[in-house]
């Protein structure tokens, strides 16, 4: 049984005639690292939100582990699925540790007393996300990249089986973008943990993901293995820009992963 099963899912935002999602059908298998690709406004975030039950699909069916996800309590879902949003703005000062501790909410009782297991989970999550030494700092004083990693730590503190990230590397430099994808890849290695990530970073997605989905105007344009989805033809059509796709020999986990290089307009690349 697939973890997520979406069948012919469409979504319209109120007052907008253009579909944000149009007839999306997809399966997310346990243990996969699925990357959602597509231009701005192609429906990546909407697809994530519909998949996680945050938005109700206008039509079609969305199942999580064989059941519609709104049949479960929020706590039950949150103890299995963690989400890292695109941006989170702090209205009030808060320390890093306090924020990561919020990840324990679905696992703790009504009073929220943190047991030793909870503290361990928080410690481990902060270490894995590389923010162990930031615990006492205030969220307001962190850089964008540090903040992003704290949010990832909070998601890991939920001890989920599924981690969903919406453009986690948008604010990250090369080092932390690589670390984030390495972490996602590491998490899925044992085969029971699943990661779904929406990203603009085609090259990192092609290197690390086991399954890619390329969206355009709310439709799935291509899906499958990186080598099937990341072709010059697909990328050019969807992003409306000339590119070349190469397969450098040694790029980490999956050798020969396709890599995209955008060209200057008007360049003759037919021969490359």
């Amino acid at each position: 049984m697939s973890l997520f099963e979406l069948r012919d899912v469409s979504h319209f935002y109120r007052g907008v005639t253009q579909a944000a999602l149009a007839g999306v059908t997809l399966d997310v298998e346990r243990g996969s690292l699925l990357a959602l690709l597509g231009p701005n406004g192609s429906g990546k975030s909407t697809l994530l939100r519909v998949m996680l039950g945050e938005l109700e699909a206008s039509s079609g069916s969305v199942m999580y582990a064989g059941r519609p996800s709104n049949e479960r309590s929020r706590r039950e879902v949150a103890s299995e699925i963690a989400f890292v949003p695109q941006a989170e703005s702090m209205a009030f000062p808060m320390t890093v540790r306090k924020l990561v501790e919020m990840g324990r909410y679905p696992h703790t009782g009504i009073l929220g007393r943190m047991g030793s297991a909870d503290r361990e989970a928080v410690d481990l999550a902060m270490e894995r996300a590389g923010v162990a030494d930031l615990g006492g700092r205030s969220m307001g004083n962190l850089s964008g990249g540090e903040r992003q990693r704290v949010i990832i730590a909070r998601a890991l503190a939920q001890q989920p089986k599924i981690l969903v990230l919406d453009e986690p590397t948008a604010a990250l430099d090369l080092h932390f973008a690589m670390e984030t994808f390495e972490l996602m890849s590491e998490l899925t290695e044992e085969g029971s943990f699943t990661v779904v990530v929406a990203t603009h970073n085609l090259n990192l997605a092609a290197r690390y993901a086991t399954q890619l989905i390329l969206l355009c105007s709310g439709r799935i344009e291509a899906s499958g293995l990186p080598s099937e989805v990341i072709t010059a033809e697909n990328v050019q059509r969807v992003y409306r820009w000339p590119v070349v796709v190469t397969s450098p020999a040694d790029l980490g986990p999956r050798k020969g992963a396709p890599q995209v290089t955008p060209l200057s307009p008007g360049t003759d690349h037919k021969g490359s």
Partner: protein, 331 residues
């Protein structure tokens, strides 16, 4: 004991101290030990009448209303993720005042246990719905500027409605209505103390029970949802709870501004934004703050008396402006 537990204990002592001071100070100053003996029922009858009959209901009403407004302010701020949100600034208090005045004009008695708070509650709900609808119609979600403007405009509108309503009323109703616009504890009676207590104390307990999900909500609705909070249900509970608090407080004493702004802000600076500590701390400090402000209001120009809303505004406006400037800087 944690730092926050120690702070709470300190705030409790401070609260009790201000309460005692509120009983001691007034047109006839009474020494603190005589206040204490009057409370235990072993004092001369004249002192007892002043302390127990006149000042105690007034001090208790101020404490209840202060607790209610401060907690309502803190919850609004978390709900709207905006440190400037406050029942008075958002126009909610003025909405409640319209409800209360309507109830009076329709012939319900001032100290009615149910009718007055419920009417004020409905007025508060109407104001919130209008402010949120205006903020949404402006299309920028819960943008600070739109929200504050909407609140100010709705507040002005409801104040005008109150004035319009009372021009048709008799003089006695007019006087009472004016107190609702400006806020005053001069009409405090044991009946009003009971009326407010019956509603405010359970509402405070319920809201404090939601402190943890409120913590999650204050970092964003989407994040709270994915951390396991039923956001829609929580928001309904919180909006209804705060409207109720504001409605009952306004029914008891009129629209008193800035308590819900100054108190939570000061406490966040001292003890952080965790609502498990912030809400009880707001209840005690808000109570103490209004008792203090009311004591100032009735002693500073003796024998004349200021509306307590004047004192809280004089203290609150500079804090509001400072927060506004600071939030502009952080944009």
């Amino acid at each position: 004991m944690s730092r926050q537990a120690i702070l709470l204990l300190g705030l409790l002592l401070l609260f009790l101290g201000v309460l005692t001071l509120g009983l001691a100070l007034g047109a006839v100053p009474i020494p603190v030990w005589e206040v204490l003996s009057a409370l235990t029922g072993s004092s001369d009858p004249q002192v007892e009448t002043i302390v127990l009959g006149l000042r105690l209901p007034r001090v208790l009403l101020a404490a209840e209303v202060g607790a209610g407004l401060a907690v309502a302010g803190a919850v609004f701020q978390a709900l709207l993720r905006n440190p400037l949100a406050e029942p008075y600034i958002l126009g909610v208090s003025s909405g409640a005042a319209v409800g209360a005045v309507m109830a009076i004009i329709l012939g319900m008695t001032v100290n009615s246990m149910f009718a007055l708070p419920v009417a004020a509650f409905l007025g508060a709900v109407l104001a919130i719905v209008l402010v949120l609808a205006m903020a949404r119609a402006a299309g920028r979600g819960l943008d600070t500027h739109v929200l504050l403007l909407a609140g100010v405009v709705i507040g002005a509108f409801f104040n005008a409605v109150v004035l319009l309503l009372v021009t048709f009323a008799d003089l006695e109703t007019f006087r009472a209505a004016m107190l609702w616009i400006m806020g005053s504890f001069s009409g405090a009676t044991w009946a009003s103390v009971t009326m407010v207590a019956v509603w405010v104390l359970p509402a405070l307990a319920v809201l404090t029970g939601f402190a943890r999900p409120l913590n999650l909500l204050s970092v964003g609705e989407q994040s709270a949802f994915h951390l396991g909070v039923d956001v829609r249900q929580l928001k309904i509970v919180l909006y209804v709870g705060t409207s109720f608090l504001v409605g009952v407080c306004v029914a008891g004493s009129g629209a008193i501004g800035f308590v819900g702004l100054v108190v939570p802000h000061a406490l966040r600076l001292v003890g952080g934004s965790d609502h498990r500590w912030l809400l009880p701390a707001c209840a005690m400090t808000g109570g103490g703050f209004l008792v203090f402000a009311d004591t100032v209001a009735r002693t500073v120009l003796t024998p004349a008396e200021l509306p307590v809303g004047v004192v809280t505004a004089l203290l609150g406006v500079p804090v509001f402006l400072w927060l506004l400037v600071r939030s502009e800087e952080s944009l």
